[in-house]
């Protein structure tokens, strides 16, 4: 077995209440790494086309990769893969916390759940004994994720759902500690199987090809991170919320259901404001992560809990026109406890507010008014009253109630908090990302709108190229499984110290902007490992990983996801952006919205797809994607 893998997959049939361990397929691991990649391969092979995402035929896969179980910073994440009930296409989400470490210690690379239980159940997995206990979970059903985990105790590592998952809210997530695999409704799939929680335990250690080189190098990386302006300073001090003032200044902070890109009270929901006014004690992190991007805040009546991160601050803050960080913190806690994605939640709430404003619906919610939001979050989780409508997300609400021109989703997945009208590459990424409108499947905005060296985000240059490189890299990182924030370290300290108003900065960004073919060529070179995650993979597995290898593997995973979507009927017609983004300008100089129609053909061509957006046989063969 390749080092870095436990070497086995645990398959659990929830209908029959049986389990078995099967060997990990090394050939698949070599092609798809692990995590999201391996999980997608299994999903494609193990499900019938057209399967009901909330029926017993859907599989729910928890997947780790070769970096999990090591002490590499940012490496304790797991991926969840299934057919999404929200989009009907590929569903996946990754999560920090401690469950990934637990799985690897239990000697499990992937956990594949099939069927569904006829009553609430939880699984207790002892990897050393090779046992899986099916335990009645009637006593836990209905409880929040915090209380559930408290009852299950700290001796094992858990992944749990809350009432939102139980009631199959289409954007319900799966929680480990205070982190959530939030996107695409993976928690609803777990709820449809009546599976409340999974607990894992074991004492296995990760085997590495060259542990000494790994240890020494990881020590160096930790030192590098400590001194890095983002990973060692900004993230540590302000969390991801530091970006609120940046997106506000760049006019891409979603405000009033994406009607505007800036919010007068942005500063009051920023990470810096949180640091000065709300932060309580020690900042939190996932296991072995020195970045500590987590923020503890005080929520009245609850106590000290994880504070909101950027997406939540924007989608539950500016997008609802709420400049009250205490309220956002309270709603963030509630959403976590109910077990649901705050991005989709925030976008759905703002959609309901705009519907109400236009007299098309009444959920008792208004922009700028926090009244009723807490109650609505609970009602959504329990599918009560209007909450039952909101529990289905913006796409289905628009189909039922109208308002599709301002329903802010792609493929059914609600947009993240970077308005693509001021970030054209991010718009292409939203439109083409297989799971729908999400930012962490590439994070192109960092290179054009938010990072220390950004090209002009509103020219057409490089906007069809950046998303491909970024999406491929993200696919690889989500398959290792590593935190996507690690990529923020790729811009060295010197880049952060450049004066962005200087001539030198202009020269650098102009050269970068005109580097299209060169950038793609450079990234595809299969050489020696350069970046820390390439070296970690190499030291752990003994296989050679470089940028070119990761681009190829990421491209393979991305194209397999694409083929899965095509098989499930999520076709190229869904490679679009919300009407508001395409046609309503938010910048003074703009006459319309995002120029997707000018960029999409170039993106397809660069991907090796035909003009209709379908991967060609040649591309699939070249990438060894068997379908």
């Amino acid at each position: 077995m390749i080092k870095g893998y436990a070497g086995r997959i645990l398959e659990v049939d929830l209908t029959q209440r049986t389990h078995r361990f099967v060997p990990l397929d090394e050939d698949v691991a070599r092609l798809y790494i692990g995590g999201k990649g391996y999980g997608t391969r299994l999903l494609y092979d193990r499900t019938e086309a057209g399967v009901d995402p909330l029926g017993p035929g859907n599989v729910l896969i928890f997947a780790t990769g070769p970096l999990n179980g090591s002490v590499a910073p940012q490496s304790n994440r797991f991926a969840v893969v299934c057919k999404s009930p929200l989009t009907g296409g590929i569903g996946n989400a990754t999560c920090g916390g401690s469950f990934a470490l637990g799985m690897k210690k239990a000697g499990i690379d992937l956990l594949v759940l099939t069927g569904s239980s006829d009553r609430p159940v939880r699984l207790d997995v002892d990897g050393d004994a090779g046992s899986v206990d099916f335990i009645d979970a009637g006593d836990l059903w209905g409880k929040g994720t915090y209380e559930t985990q408290q009852i299950l105790g700290k001796k094992k590592n858990h992944a749990v759902i809350g009432p939102a998952g139980e009631n199959m809210v289409l954007y319900a997530g799966i929680v480990s500690n205070e982190r959530i695999a939030g996107r695409t409704g993976v928690g609803a799939v777990m709820g449809s199987k009546r599976l409340k929680a999974i607990s894992v335990t074991g004492k296995r250690k990760l085997e590495m090809e060259d542990p000494e080189a790994f240890r020494k190098y990881t020590k160096d990386v930790r030192e590098m991170f400590k001194d890095h302006p983002v990973l060692g300073e900004s993230m540590k001090r302000f969390g991801t919320g530091a970006i609120v003032n940046t997106t506000n200044g760049r006019n891409i902070l979603p405000t009033r259901n994406f009607q505007r890109g800036s919010f007068d009270d942005a500063i009051k929901i920023s990470g810096e404001y949180m640091e000065d006014h709300e932060l309580k004690g020690v900042k939190t992190s996932c296991i072995h992560c020195p970045v500590t991007c987590g923020r503890d805040v005080e929520v009245e009546g609850v106590g000290r809990v994880k504070g909101p991160e950027y997406e939540t601050l924007a989608l539950l803050g500016s997008n609802l026109e709420i400049g009250n960080i205490k309220k956002v913190s309270e709603w963030n806690y509630l959403a976590d406890d109910m077990g649901m994605d705050t991005i989709s939640l925030g976008a759905t709430l703002s959609f309901a507010m705009e519907l109400q404003e236009r007299g098309m619906y009444s959920a008792g919610l208004e922009f700028g008014d926090p009244a009723g939001v807490s109650e609505m979050i609970r009602d959504i989780a329990h599918r009560k009253g209007a909450g039952n409508d909101l529990a289905d997300g913006t796409k289905r609400m628009a189909e039922k109630l109208g308002g599709s021109e301002f329903a802010m989703h792609v493929k059914g997945l609600e947009l993240s908090a970077y308005d693509p009208r001021g970030s054209f590459a991010q718009g292409v990424e939203y439109a083409t990302t297989n799971r729908g409108g999400c930012h962490v499947q590439g994070a192109s905005m960092y290179m054009e709108s938010t990072g220390p060296i950004t090209i002009n985000p509103q020219s057409l240059k490089l906007k069809a190229e950046i998303p491909i490189v970024q999406q491929n890299l993200a696919c690889a990182i989500n398959s290792m499984v590593l935190c996507i924030f690690t990529t923020y370290g790729m811009v060295p300290k010197a880049g952060h110290n450049l004066d962005p108003n200087s001539f030198l900065y202009k020269v650098i960004t102009t050269v970068f902007e005109n580097s299209g073919p060169m950038m793609r060529t450079m990234m595809s070179i299969k050489g020696r490992p350069m970046m820390w995650f390439e070296k970690w993979l190499t030291y752990i597995t003994g296989e050679n990983f470089s940028s070119g290898h990761l681009q190829e593997m990421g491209g393979r995973i991305f194209n397999l996801e694409r083929m899965y979507n095509l098989r499930e009927g999520v076709g190229p017609e869904s490679d679009t952006l919300p009407h508001r983004i395409l046609y309503e300008p938010t910048f003074k100089h703009m006459k319309s919205g995002h120029p997707l129609d000018q960029l999409l053909p170039r993106y397809y061509k660069n991907r090796g797809w035909d003009a209709g957006g379908v991967p060609t046989r040649r591309t699939l063969d070249k990438l060894q994607v068997s379908v």
């Binding site: 983002v230 900004s234 993230m235 991801t240 919320g241 530091a242 970006i243 609120v244 003032n245 940046t246 997106t247 506000n248 200044g249 760049r250 006019n251 891409i252 890109g261 800036s262 500063i267 920023s270 810096e272 404001y273 991007c293 991160e309 950027y310 997406e311 908090a417 001021g422 962490v440 960092y446 938010t450 990072g451 220390p452 950004t454 002009n456 509103q458 020219s459 924030f485 923020y488 952060h496 110290n497 450049l498 004066d499 962005p500 108003n501 900065y505 202009k506 960004t509 910048f587 003074k588 100089h589």
Partner: protein, 88 residues
């Protein structure tokens, strides 16, 4: 002619204001000069420290993608000092 100027968080703390209105400014350079004046000569170093890595944007567009400090302003424009950041 009047423009609105929005500050970074650190500048807001230093000046005690999130945003100000300025009249009679024709270019970004004039705005930056007026903001520097608000810090005063004795706080010149603080101004340099706080703005060294802050880009200037007009209506959300970095001036480095337009005409730099010579970028002309129109009535109602918003000039923002913006720091780079990394989110999630």
């Amino acid at each position: 002619m009047s423009v609105t100027v929005e500050f970074t968080y650190d500048m807001t703390k230093a000046l005690g204001e999130t945003r100000i209105s300025l009249d009679g400014v024709g270019t970004v350079r004039e705005v930056v000069a007026q903001v520097r004046d608000r810090f005063g000569a004795e706080r010149g170093e603080e101004f340099e420290r706080l703005t060294h890595t802050a880009a200037v944007a007009v209506n959300g567009v970095l001036v480095n993608h337009r005409r730099g400090m010579k970028t002309p302003l129109a009535d109602g424009d918003k000039v923002s000092f913006v720091k780079s950041a990394s989110g999630g």
